[in-house]
């Protein structure tokens, strides 16, 4: 069906408007991070102004951001590595187990995604409280495993199923065990997929707020927790907040192009190919 030219133009305009609605808020918050408090309060808002790097200087020299960035990075890294070690063998097993057990375990792993974060966090708070782990990155990382392991296992299972079966079969015919086939054949071939799922899991952990908010108070605060802590203060320092927000968006910006192909699979847990 050939679309008439005037309809094509209207559709094109709609697409551009949609992009504008997405880009504007992001761009506007980045712009605000280069403004002074005085410039932020100017009405009408200034689009052309004398940019200042003062906010970033204040953040990086003194202030709590460095500590929070370090916490966020450590928590995300610990979460991703730990869940990878458990997920890779499990995902490989689930991708080849086509019997009842495989299906039921797979469904159980998938259904954990339904658990509301708030229902998970109360028992974890009590346990961490008695283990005296409140306000440590360990409490946060352990709690994150509750969503990271199911997420990575299921996502890897779905992606591993796409690898050509011949690869594994050839190895098995040569007398390799499943475990050897996994390490020698599957892992090298699935490296890009594993990298992509790890990045997605990293971003999930980096972005998480509620659990970190309840489990930390000062020392182990992650970046999202710091943002809300500062946004609750009486006189809001908008430019500083904008600068922290901009910094916390960096992982998203770096990874969006790289993992886009896996994004849909990751977010729908492979329900749609």
């Amino acid at each position: 069906m050939k679309t008439p030219i005037h309809i094509q133009i209207i559709l094109y305009l709609l697409a551009i408007i949609a992009c504008g609605l997405i880009v504007f808020p992001i761009w506007w918050i980045i712009v605000a991070s280069f403004k002074t408090m005085h410039q932020v309060f100017q009405i009408p808002p200034q689009i052309i102004f004398d940019p200042t790097f003062d906010n970033y200087r204040r953040l990086f020299f003194g202030g709590q951001l460095i500590n929070s960035l370090f916490n966020s990075l450590s928590v995300s890294a610990i979460t991703v590595t730990t869940s990878l070690i458990l997920s890779i063998p499990a995902a490989y097993s689930l991708s080849t187990l086509k019997n009842r057990v495989g299906r039921n375990v797979g469904f159980w792993v998938l259904s954990i995604r339904m658990a509301p974060a708030f229902a998970v966090i109360i028992p974890y708070f009590i346990i961490m409280y008695f283990l005296r782990l409140i306000d440590t990155i360990w409490a946060v990382a352990i709690t994150y495993l509750t969503f990271a392991i199911p997420f990575q296992t299921w996502l890897l299972k779905v992606t591993l199923e796409e690898l050509p079966k011949e690869l594994e079969e050839a190895a098995l015919i040569d007398g390799a065990t499943k475990t050897i086939a996994l390490f020698r054949i599957i892992l090298p071939n699935a490296a890009p997929m594993i990298a992509a799922t790890s990045i997605l899991t990293f971003v999930l952990a980096w972005n998480e707020f509620l659990m970190a908010f309840i489990l930390t108070s000062r020392d182990a605060r992650t970046v999202p927790v710091l943002i809300t802590a500062l946004s609750g203060t009486h006189r809001l320092d908008w430019p500083i907040m904008a600068a922290i927000s901009t910094i916390s968006m960096i992982p998203a910006f770096i990874f969006i192009t790289f993992v886009q192909r896996y994004l849909i699979k990751g977010l729908t847990m492979g329900a749609i190919k």
């Binding site: 458990l86 063998p89 346990i127 392991i149 809300t228």
Partner: protein
């Protein structure tokens, strides 16, 4: 066979430990009268926490807010996502770049999404809240200060942040429809609307259900975006169930009642998503 179970076992054991144990513990504490730092420790109190909740006006307000918030956010984001996906299934120039742009909000920290919209809607510094409203003569309207408008604002911010997800789901769903279907419909001389109604829509049932499940779970759990924008206020206008749970559990330290809220949320989500999952995994 046995080797496969061995590969699977570590993850299953760790998950059982991390998820099944704490879930039972949650049910257990929801039947306890238990305040943190209470010298007498937890005492069994039966259904007291649930009865207390069902009788409390705060619970009813939070439940209503959660239902309004979730229903609006889910429905609007699904309609918008579907519209965008249909738009992007036509041949637009520069489609790849525009798709990357549209997907962006879904990987941003929700806290940042909330703060960004707070910044834009603020009646002190916001482009919309302070500038545009004044331009059209609504200078005395405070978007985040008025109960109804605040709820609308947090819904819109959530829709902005989550529509990329439904967009991606429907896009994948549309791409999976075999072109052959369209070709044969065209040969039969079907009109544009007819093709949409009898080929496109029926083939989108599965993506629609996936979108419904994921968005419902999301929306009922909404905490971060709202917390940054309004802290649940003004009054209780944007006070959702997770927020009530947070206040009860970690502000008043009534762990028993907070657990009961957790259980209620869990049961609501299971009863909504289980039947839907059944349908698509058939």
């Amino acid at each position: 066979m046995r080797e496969e179970y061995r590969l699977l076992l570590p993850a299953v054991v760790v998950l059982a430990f991390l998820v099944v144990g704490p879930t039972f513990y949650l049910f257990y504490t929801s039947f306890m009268d238990w305040f943190l730092r209470d010298p007498y420790g937890p005492r069994f109190s039966g259904l007291d926490n649930y009865i207390k909740l069902f009788q409390s006006p705060d619970f009813h307000v939070s439940l209503t807010v959660t239902l309004i918030f979730s229903a609006s956010s889910v429905i609007i984001s699904i309609l918008l996502g579907l519209a965008l996906a249909l738009l992007f299934s036509t041949d637009l120039r520069g489609k790849t770049i525009m798709r990357t742009i549209l997907v962006m909000p879904i990987v941003l920290p929700p806290v940042v999404v909330g703060f960004t919209w707070k910044f834009i809607l603020s009646s002190e510094v916001g482009v919309i809240g302070a500038y545009l409203l004044r331009l059209i003569g609504l200078g005395d309207v405070s978007l985040l200060g008025d109960p109804t408008l605040a709820l609308v604002s947090v819904i819109l911010a959530d829709v902005w942040g989550k529509t990329p997800l439904t967009f991606l789901i429907f896009l994948a769903g549309l791409a999976a429809i075999p072109p052959l279907y369209y070709e044969s419909a065209m040969i039969d001389g079907a009109g544009r609307w007819q093709v949409f109604k009898s080929i496109t829509l029926p083939n989108l049932t599965k993506p629609l259900i996936v979108a419904l499940i994921l968005r419902t779970i999301d929306a009922f759990n909404s905490f971060d975006v709202i917390f940054v924008m309004t802290k649940g206020g003004p009054g209780m206008a944007t006070h959702t169930l997770p927020m009530l749970g947070w206040k009860v559990g970690f502000y008043y330290f009534d762990l028993g009642a907070a657990s009961a809220i957790g259980v209620i949320l869990l049961l609501i989500l299971i009863s909504i998503s289980m039947p839907l999952i059944r349908i698509i995994s058939r």
